[in-house]
């Protein structure tokens, strides 16, 4: 049997439950039928803008109807969807569009300057796509090939494109729909930006089952307990930051969210304390900690916390385990020498593993072959096939309650769930005219969590100029909060830059 594509899942639900609510966003409440019609209207505009058939459609919109209908329209028109974040600086958006080979952009915000000249634009700022006649869309929905293309921070200074195919999503979505009892009447929170892949869970677990996607406004999102109650959320999914934030604000009072059935977290370390505080407020919900890089399609492991707090596991670092890999995946923990170990790097293969980066040059070193005894890193030459394991770069420890996440093996960090390669920021800081050398670090923030800081050398460095320049190139969460100007960077005994001493200087 052919595996269904993302749009096929939505279309099947439109046929089965046309009058169920599919989406609530801004002032709109759309049934499945209405959302399908809206997506058709946008798909017709996309096809009109590129009669030669668009291959990749950028969706540049925030928490608006355009964002969600545009996402579906890209797939409906037979293309790969490339979500774009309107809060990113124009230069970064232009870079992403060029790298992705975006043929058409669907947007309801100002079109950024510097887009490749051949990029067509469907500007919906003055349109009302939710109403009007429904056109005949002269294209077959995409159901094979790349479903979505996302960019993650790249350590060499350029974002890495991660293409994820419809086939990659198939088992993942089947499992999620069953595991979380999704169906009509379920109401899914939509806390993630569409540029962050857990949003694929919100959209297609809901739309593949007849549930409703409920999109909070930015201000609503900052009052999660009110949002859950007022909007009747049954399935909550977010980065752990929301639990920590709600706890600090005193919002997590006992049984504050009686209607919540599922509390799912992803994207950053979830502490047992945060999970406990959230569970106290949502005692009718089951709490799970899910884990996975974009390269492995949203999440590839999960741990379900027992209902009774006193039976919770105790872990070395106080975090909730990330649990076990899904049954349709293979996972192995390897030590530095490539031998199976209890403590080492998590490597995964199976149907959720992507086929390689947009730029094949990024594949070198990120995969390995392993025959059960010895492992060999993929060096970028030779074919990359499904026998290769993806190296997550995450250090884990195997135990009785599944895997526990111990940290990163490289310089990737998470700030509020955003995945950041310090090397990417470093490369841009070094590229600034006045800078000789630079080290970018993540240090504990005054307000909890991590913050990005930079140490720079060079004559005549003006940190304010440097910051303004970075603001035109990087998303806000990647801008160093503090920049220190030093005469030289400190070295350790092996003549390497002493990152620990530098970090201490920022404390």
């Amino acid at each position: 049997m052919k595996t269904p594509g993302l749009y096929d899942r939505f279309a099947a639900t439109v046929r089965r439950w046309p009058d169920q609510l599919a989406l609530e966003v801004a002032d709109h409440r759309l049934t499945y039928r209405e959302l399908a019609d809206t997506a058709d209207r946008l798909a017709a505009l996309v096809l009109a803008a590129r009669p030669d058939r668009p291959r990749r459609v950028g969706v540049l919109a925030g928490r608006s109807l355009t964002a969600y209908a545009g996402y579906l329209a890209a797939l409906r028109a037979g293309a790969t969807v490339v979500p774009l974040n309107p809060s990113f600086p124009a230069a970064r958006l232009a870079l992403l569009c060029a790298r992705a080979g975006v043929d058409v952009i669907v947007t309801d915000v100002e079109v950024p300057a510097g887009l490749p000249a051949e990029t067509a634009v469907v500007d919906l700022r003055d349109e009302r796509p939710a109403t009007g006649p429904v056109p005949v869309v002269d294209a077959a929905p995409a159901s094979t090939g790349v479903a979505y293309l996302l960019f993650t921070s790249g350590s060499t200074g350029v974002p890495k494109g991660v293409p994820v195919t419809h086939a990659n999503t198939a088992e993942y979505l089947d499992l999620s729909i069953a595991r979380y009892g999704a169906g009509p009447g379920c109401r899914f929170s939509q806390t993630f930006d569409l540029t962050f892949d857990p949003s694929v869970f919100d959209l297609f677990v809901a739309w593949g089952s007849g549930a409703t996607v409920v999109v909070p406004r930015r201000d609503e999102l900052m009052a999660p307990v009110d949002f859950v109650n007022r909007r009747g959320i049954t399935h909550w999914y977010s980065v752990p930051w929301f639990a920590a934030m709600a706890d600090r604000l005193g919002l997590l009072t006992p049984n504050a969210m009686p209607g919540l059935r599922w509390s799912l977290f992803i994207g950053d370390r979830l502490t047992l304390d945060e999970a406990g505080a959230w569970q106290r407020a949502a005692p009718g919900s089951t709490v799970e900690n899910t884990y996975g890089p974009t390269e492995l399609t949203v999440s590839c492991t999960t741990y379900r916390l027992p209902a009774e707090r006193d039976t919770w596991p105790v872990t070395v670092n106080g975090t909730v385990p990330i649990g076990d890999a899904y049954p349709h995946l293979e996972a192995v923990v390897l030590d530095e020498d490539g031998h199976p170990a209890d403590d080492g790097e998590l490597c995964v293969r199976g149907p959720q593993r992507f086929a390689g980066y947009l730029d094949p040059a990024d594949n070198a070193g990120r995969f390995l072959s392993w025959d059960g005894h010895t492992s060999r890193r993929y060096d970028g030459t030779g074919p990359l096939d499904e026998t290769h394991w993806y190296r997550t770069g995450d250090r884990v420890r195997a135990g009785a309650t599944g895997l526990v996440h111990l940290g990163r093996l490289d310089h990737q960090v998470k700030v509020q769930g955003y995945r950041i390669e310090l090397g990417e920021i470093e490369a841009l800081v070094r590229a600034h005219d006045s800078v000789d050398d630079a080290i970018v670090l993540a240090v504990p923030a005054r307000l909890g969590g991590l913050e990005i800081v930079a140490a720079v050398t060079g004559t005549g460095v003006r940190t304010a100029d440097l910051t303004s320049s970075l603001r035109t190139q990087l998303p806000r969460y990647m801008i160093p909060a503090r920049i220190k100007h030093l005469t030289t960077l400190p070295l350790n005994d092996s003549r390497k830059i002493d990152r620990l001493r530098l970090a201490a200087a920022f404390a």
């Binding site: 406004r217 930015r218 201000d219 609503e220 900052m222 009052a223 930051w241 934030m245 600090r248 604000l249 509020q416 923030a445 307000l447 909890g448 969590g449 806000r476 969460y477 801008i479």
Partner: protein
């Protein structure tokens, strides 16, 4: 009363955002603030009796508007 709230909030914003000076017509997020700093502002404001919520920082356009809202509660 609004004046007191304004002075207090000006001080809190400046502290949390590590800025020398904040104007009454400044917008919190235009000053480069993030949601973590929004939480911090709310916690500090509450400590000294100003009743604001995090969403208020998103729904009011300026420091002066936020102060008026806080003073009215």
């Amino acid at each position: 009363m609004p004046l007191t709230a304004e002075i207090t909030l000006r001080q809190i914003w400046a502290d949390v955002l590590e800025l020398d000076e904040v104007d009454d017509d400044d917008n919190f997020f235009d000053l480069g603030a993030d949601s973590m700093q929004a939480v911090e502002v709310v916690l500090r404001a509450r400590e000294i009796g100003l009743n604001i919520e995090v969403p208020d920082l998103f729904t009011t356009g300026t420091l002066a508007e936020l102060a008026t809202l806080a003073a009215g509660r």
